[in-house]
Symmetry: C2
Subunit: 121 residues, 2 copies
């Protein structure tokens, strides 16, 4: 499959709220996930666990995924813009989080994701 | 100045519609600009000319710039999400273009910009 096909499948599933299906079916066993602070998590299981932990202390009201976006100089990458509507349990206050994800594809699987955002997410 | 300061100045000016002021004052003389098809334009003058050419065949109705966004693993970079509201003169039909810009900062100047989008822009 092309990077484009994989990227469109990714965005379609995300816009259906199926983020964990994406992680379970499209992520490589040795995926590297890089959060905004630069911290790396390695491996499909640990990366899924990281997301489970992230959602555990908030209500997830929905999300939109814009893209995918491409650049010909990096044919193995695609970019997605996320708008996340969440209510942290600690505050009970509904907020919108925005972030950009840069994904790398090798052998029909996503091998790296790097998130760009501002402040705590 | 930090990458963060430069990035916030960039977004502030863009949200005031001052994109050409950004290019004239914040771009390095030898900036490299990479369009979605991977084509590179080198040098502040040629990069400004490229943007002048781009706007010349359309009405520019406005834009929003979301961000800046950061990742600690790439401390010299920031990311901006653009939503561009334009009317190409060829069609007269108002459209919205979305793209992600990845910017690299060195010595207080922007030395590289790389745009990710889908289709023709």
């Amino acid at each position: 499959m092309s990077t484009q096909s994989i990227a469109k499948q990714f965005v379609d599933l995300c816009n259906q709220g199926k983020n964990f299906d994406v992680m379970r079916t499209m992520y490589a066993p040795d995926i590297v996930s890089v959060e905004g602070d630069g911290k790396e998590t390695v491996g499909q299981g640990p990366v899924i666990k990281k997301s489970e932990d992230w959602v555990s202390d908030k209500a997830f009201n929905g999300e939109t995924c814009d893209g995918p976006f491409f650049n010909g100089a990096n044919p193995d990458q695609f970019v997605v813009y996320f708008t996340l509507d969440v209510t942290p349990k600690a505050t009970g206050k509904r907020i919108t989080l925005k972030e950009v994800g840069v994904y790398t594809v090798k052998g029909d699987k996503i091998t790296r994701e790097q998130f760009f955002y501002d402040g705590e997410h």
